[in-house]
Subunit: 914 residues, 2 copies
């Protein structure tokens, strides 16, 4: 049907006439590609109608009409919409041969939301619309089923009141329960027609009692709100309620969580009702064309006889598997027909579909279909099977799998078949589940682990000092810090479950206990807890875990991904174990080996000696000599694990005072000892000297202070020791016939001369060691580009670099002027809430930062066309960021070992999406 | 003369033959434009020879030869240089009709350094070269003046030993003093020929005693070092010593201070000696073609009869003004001739020149000329006079004035209305007044300055070794030396007050005290003194200083500058006083009013209440209400002072916890009170709560934390209060018929949405206030671009901004990842020392940061072509940075009030230099 008055077309019809005598009626006007106009549901209803599947006729009001509704202040239907609805309602009445509100043979309709992206249960629906005191008699006349008629009417009043009039459901449920008690029956179905009629009357009283006349002046009769008897008023109010539900709280939250745009709007589907509750030859159900849990190629679903859709969803009655349909008298034919529908849909959609259907007195009606949701494991199997069946191409198969789903498959999970006592919810910072006894310090975690005990480390937030405890624990739980906090980043690197930022958790680490605010739950060092880092859930007690199993499909998909991707994928790994893990996941090298962790544990004392030696170069060299051998061993293990593949080792980066005691704590210790005489004069003097030294090293903004290559400039012997160790390790392997490929990475370079200076010193050391060892190894030297100035002058820096690795964490910090340590707990939540930023720039590469990287690449290549360009920030494992890296034209991304599969697939997506 | 063997020509001759019979001799081969080859001295000697002025002949070894010398390892004369020197020496001998080392009529030469840029006193000179035991007899034979011959010889040994053999001068001075005591005479001139001959012998013994044979094997005779009798060895060693002096410590320091490149090298001038110490018709002197102190058009200078140049510089004897020459018998003719020389030089150089001359037995010889150094005031007057005389254009006049020199003119003076206890009078060597504690060594001066203390450096005379102390001191006071002494020349260059030649001042530097002769005044290292370098006055105690008043020339030059400059010049001012000052200096508006200073003093308590109110919005508003009225008054004063000109007010920028107590100090206080029971339980609890609150606000990297517009987003009422105050102040002035032009500047924006959010809120407040007041004021709203991301996405941000002001301090911090609070005391000195950075990027705009600004401008203009673009960092007052701002195409720079004249002139330079 054409537009009304030449305006934008806002309503689209679907479905054939049921009334065979109807003339001059609409045909289906949409199809499955119109989801941005008709929403997913509307587009798919039109598509099914086009395929000739049995779809109850109706029409869809577009998403654009919904957004037009919001453009007015206050929101209002756009001009002409009422008239267009009237035209299509009349058309629908013709198709059905029935009229809305008719006293003899009334048309009943459903009014359902349907946005371009599935938002299950987030928006509103009204069923059985068209019933009033007159038309209920028409239903009785037509069906001869008085009980059905009154039941439908009371359901309609209840649903309309909740959805349109905003009345809490409790009052209706109470009245229903009261009625069942009064009649001495258990189920709704045991109530008689007379009972239900009485309920209708009571429900109408509830409406008059609960709704304020000021809110709905149009519905006021004799001074009180009356449930509307005008069916067009019912329809109009219901359509508006669906429009409004686009912006209800839970829909907004859901969109934010799923990253769905707010300006899409929802369509409204007005469709002739069919009834699954018209007796034992009626039924309603949902199904999938394949098993959505594991991907098995079988029809899958459940139905309820004599019920409406809401009963299935509510889970009140026990459903039957759809295979039973064909064995149930009166439903057999519909069951057979359903098999055909499944086959037709899968062929048309070339994917697993889910459906909703209703059988009304033996006749099958399709109410919904869409591409079905599935578990990660099912997604892999279905995609591989479709390719093997020749239905889809490898490219399509790859694009159907969300890269993040792969991560899920690599970690244990809470058994989804079980229910748990969730005691708190935090951020899903590192995937996987863990069970263990609570410990409140890294040392306790280590001690327990040594004793063979499983523990969960509970901390306010972790610091580098907690590292040994994190290694020892099964999982990490923190009350502060976001998804890019220390705990989160390190846990992800380790592949360890982590739940962060559980604000309700009030920890008293010294007392070894924590309480959960507003509850009486106390965690102490005897409490067993379970955490699920995939969901952010914290459970008191021991949860049952299921171990991950990676199927052959997993590797098939990744092999296909490798065929298409252009970006290389490396891993960030600081130990031989991590390197091996990463290699097994398909990493093509190591993009970042951080060396700061190698200076912790028992070596911390040595690096402290180094730092505190100050001007005494002799003492500094003694300390470094002690570190040299251990460093050689560190690198040996990693190079061996990555034999034949490049390993980028970043020279020491963090501010040196990170290795020192806190001056504040030290001063308090001194103050106490002075007042209590708890220490000898000499000891006090020594501590005071230490304090003065530490104070002299402390910085206002350590992130912008003496760190990175500045350490290498100020303390040449430090970097020289590291380069010596790298070269020695490489030479040793080379002598064993191995193929070590070390790359020395100079961090935090801001100008070319820093790099040329340190490069010259490194080359000198490398040459010296190779001379000593009598072996030649090719060692590349490059730099991190992690400061805006470095990207801007990349043309100059590239002249002295074999490679660039964009350190997107620091680059994000300096480009925005955001200290990651500070902003996540301070203003970032507010920025996201108020949409000042679209996402956390430390999780997904920001577009402005991406522009800086693009400038760095372009200028770098302008003077050094063959330069290798990678990134090694947290962003290297984030699919959205990987897509940006592909577009910029980087050589590779580097991410934590468990993210390597994610990155391989995301890189393929990026290449396929062009 | 041609090159030797087709090699690069390394030696250039100058000067005509003195021996009229000389044939086949060289002509002058250089000119004044060859200073990069011949050095300033060499080029100007050649130029004077070309003009026909009386220049003793000689030759110049090029700067390039010096740099070639350094290319060898160890440094060595380039191949062929020895031969080329021999050729030119022979040529010089022909011209003079004398031979080096000749026993009958020996040629004596001077060997002097001369780099492309003047480095007064930094490098070495050897005079009287060519004397040995034989040739001294030749001098006696030729002059009949035995005393002169032996005096020349002993001077030569002394100078050669210090310069070439690196012997401390003390041993020679002691021997000389001892001889004078033994003879009972006071002056050197009172010693007889015999005395001097004996001294020569003693001096040679000193050489043998002090020089190690290992260091000079070529000079060893009978196992000890002998003063060389081979004149060619003398010459070669002296030339090499001059080469070496290019890289002595003080030359390197001087170059660093003056920004002179290290790879220029010094030329070596070998020139026939003429003698000002051949009796009463001989003299030596220095002069200027105009008065270098105030610019008066008069011949200016001093001379000493019967003396060598070193005597004038040393300031041992009192000089006569050159006007006296024409009145002194035997010197009259030379005096007349000198007038002609002055006129010739000024005409040729079109500028004020300084000269060194010697009169040998009535004949004038020119030894040096160059464009002369002058005080800032003189520079202005001379430039204006030259324009008025029609000698140079306005453009040339402007380009001749170093913008930083203007700063000097703005230095304070003693208040002439007050009376002072003048304790001594010296020479007014460098203008300006200073007050400080007396220090008696350069090291003490530096130490005190580092501790933030103001000092006056008191010295017998300064040497290049005192340079760091001169930099550190407020002013310099010497007891010896004239207006052309080291202290005077260097202090004028630095724009530092200096009083010279206070003869009554008797200094005992080791004892750190001085007495003023014939008084009981003692200065020690606790004494405060005041000096006025404009008048030469020394005052005991602290004098009141007054701000300077500038001459008409000052404004003439700046008016001319305004004719040529393209950049606007605004000032940074936070108070009505500063605004008025800036306006008087020609500021065209205020580019930055910081509001954080307005929250200090008694208002700090209120802002603390605001911060500590936390979530309690009510309490926050109460605190802000208290600030509102005071803020209105703040802005009123500034807008009034800048009536009709734009005033950019930056909303509050610093981290809030800057207004709070130090948590460390607070915790120590609490610890003490807990241990000593020094406070009640309630008080302690309150303090602990405060501590927890402050701790919760503290940040790891406050520079990158909750500050700038993030405050405005988190605490909208704060910015709203400020915008309200700005608008109220503007409305009040408008009602008085004034023309306030406020501009609201939102700091630290990183993305467009921050600006659009805060702009909308500001516009709402502005509209509200204008409604209340019934006045309309045009208030522009713009932003700081001080984060790299902001510059990179300037195309987006510009859509919401009326202006950008590049905050180059923060931009430098974030572009480099340098915290200014930290790096200046940590690694920056090392970076500058090792030339990893060419200059402090917080002083002179870095080229990488300039590239970021250029991107910001280009992208900003791409979406908002009319946008105003300024900078308001420290760089706005730095001439080198201003040149970069001009090239980038900014609209204006903004700087501190005193720098406004500097910026106006620097902007004109930038425009003229294109």
């Amino acid at each position: 049907m054409g537009q009304t008055n030449g305006q934008t077309k806002r309503v689209y019809a679907f479905g054939e006439a049921v009334n065979e005598n109807a003339t001059d009626v609409s045909v289906t006007e949409g199809n499955k590609d119109m989801k941005y106009q008709l929403g997913g549901k509307g587009a798919n209803l039109a598509e099914m109608a086009n395929m000739g599947l049995p779809v109850p006729p109706g029409y869809t009001i577009t998403c654009q009409a919904c957004m037009e509704y919001y453009e007015s202040e206050p929101p209002a239907f756009p001009v002409g919409l009422d008239e267009e609805i009237a035209v299509y309602t009349a058309d629908l009445e013709k198709k059905m041969g029935k009229k809305l509100g008719d006293a003899d043979d009334p048309l009943l309709v459903s009014v359902r939301s349907g946005s371009p992206f599935s938002m299950p249960g987030m928006m509103d629906t009204v069923l059985n619309l068209g019933l009033n005191d007159e038309s209920v008699q028409g239903i009785i006349a037509q069906t001869g089923n008085e009980r059905f008629a009154w039941d439908s009417y009371r359901r309609f009043i209840q649903m309309f009141s909740r959805v349109v009039l905003d009345i809490e459901g409790d009052a209706f449920e109470e009245a229903l329960t009261h009625m069942k008690e009064a009649r001495g029956v258990k189920n709704d179905t045991d109530l008689s027609a007379e009972d239900l009629k009485e309920l209708v009357s009571e429900f109408k009283d509830i409406v008059s009692r609960e709704v304020s006349p000021e809110d709905y002046p149009a519905l006021v009769v004799d001074g009180v709100v009356a449930f509307p008897q005008d069916v067009n008023e019912q329809l109009r109010l219901s359509i508006e309620a669906v429009f409004k539900s686009w912006n209800n709280r839970r829909a907004i939250d859901y969109r934010r969580m799923e990253g769905i745009a707010d300006d899409l709007g929802t369509a409204v589907n007005v469709q002739a009702m069919v009834f699954g509750n018209k007796g034992d030859t009626s039924a309603t159900g949902v199904g999938f064309t394949r098993n959505p849990a594991d991907g098995t190629n079988e029809y899958y679903g459940d139905y309820l006889t004599n019920a409406q859709g809401e009963d299935v969803v509510a889970g009140i009655r026990i459903t039957e598997p759809i295979a039973e349909l064909k064995r149930q008298p009166g439903l057999e034919k519909a069951g057979e027909e359903l098999d055909g529908v499944f086959a037709t849909l899968e062929k048309a959609y070339r994917d697993m579909c889910d459906i909703e259907f209703t059988i009304e007195q033996g006749k099958l009606w399709m109410l919904q279909t869409r591409v079905g949701k599935r578990t990660a494991a099912a997604a892999l199997k279905i995609a591989v099977d479709f390719v093997n069946e020749g239905t889809i191409t490898k490219e399509e198969a790859l694009l159907r799998i969300n890269p993040m789903a792969l991560d899920q498959l690599l970690h244990p999970q809470f058994d989804p078949a079980k229910k748990y006592d969730v005691c708190a919810q935090g951020l899903n910072a590192s995937p996987g589940a863990a069970v263990g006894r609570c410990v409140f310090s890294a040392d306790d975690a280590e001690a327990a682990a040594k004793a063979g005990e499983k523990v969960v480390l509970v901390r306010w937030e972790t610091t580098p000092d907690d590292l040994h405890g994190m290694v020892a624990a099964q999982g990490i739980l923190t009350s502060h810090g976001g998804k890019t906090s220390h705990a989160a980043v390190v846990a992800r690197g380790m592949g360890k479950p982590c739940v962060c930022g559980v604000a309700e958790l009030k920890i008293d680490a010294r007392a070894k206990r924590a309480i959960i605010k507003d509850t009486d739950i106390v965690l102490d060092d005897q409490t067993i807890i379970s955490i699920d880092g995939t969901t952010g859930t914290v459970v008191c007690g021991k949860a049952d875990l299921i171990e991950p199993e990676v199927s052959g499909d997993f590797n098939t998909i990744l092999d296909w991904a490798d065929e298409f991707r252009v970006l290389g994928v490396r891993a960030n790994a600081d130990s031989p174990e991590d390197a091996t893990l990463a290699r097994n996941f398909g990493a093509e090298g190591i993009g970042l080996t951080r060396t700061e962790h190698m200076f912790l544990g028992e070596r911390k004392d040595i690096i402290q000696d180094f730092i505190l030696a100050g001007e005494d170069k002799e003492a500094r060299l003694v300390a470094l000599d002690q570190l040299l051998d251990t460093q050689v061993a560190d690198y040996l293990g990693i190079f061996e694990a990555m034999d034949g593949l490049p390993v980028t080792v970043r020279l020491l980066d963090p501010p040196l005072h990170e290795f020192l005691d806190s001056p504040r704590e030290l001063e308090i210790e001194i103050t106490k000892e002075e007042l209590t005489g708890g220490a000898s004069v000499e000891k006090l003097e020594k501590k005071k000297k230490l304090l003065a030294l530490i104070d002299s090293m402390s910085e206002m903004n350590p992130m912008l202070g003496l760190r990175g290559c500045r350490l290498g400039i100020m303390f040449p012997e430090l970097y020289s020791m590291q380069v010596r160790a790298i070269t020695r390790a490489a030479c040793a392997l080379k002598k064993q016939g191995k193929d070590p490929r070390p790359e020395v990475m100079i961090p935090l370079v801001s100008c070319k001369s820093e790099l040329t200076t340190l490069r010259a010193e490194s080359e000198k050391t490398i040459a010296e060691v190779m001379d000593e060892e009598g072996v030649v190894v090719d060692i590349k030297i490059g730099t991190m580009i992690e400061l805006p100035r470095a990207a801007i002058v990349a043309d100059k820096i590239a002249q002295a670099a074999d490679f660039f690795s964009f350190g997107t964490n620091d680059l994000t910090q300096t480009a925005f002027g955001f200290s990651r340590d500070d902003i996540e707990s301070k203003f970032l939540p507010c920025y996201l809430e108020r949409k000042i930023l679209p996402s956390n720039p430390f999780e997904t590469l920001d577009d402005g930062v991406a522009r800086i990287i693009a400038i760095g690449c372009e200028r770098g290549r302008s003077t050094n066309p063959g330069i290798k360009l990678g990134i090694c920030g947290e962003h290297g494992g984030d699919p959205a960021s990987i897509a940006k890296c592909h577009r910029i034209g980087l050589t590779y991304v580097s991410c934590s070992p468990y993210r390597v599969p994610v990155a391989r697939l995301a890189a393929a997506h990026a290449a396929l999406n062009g």
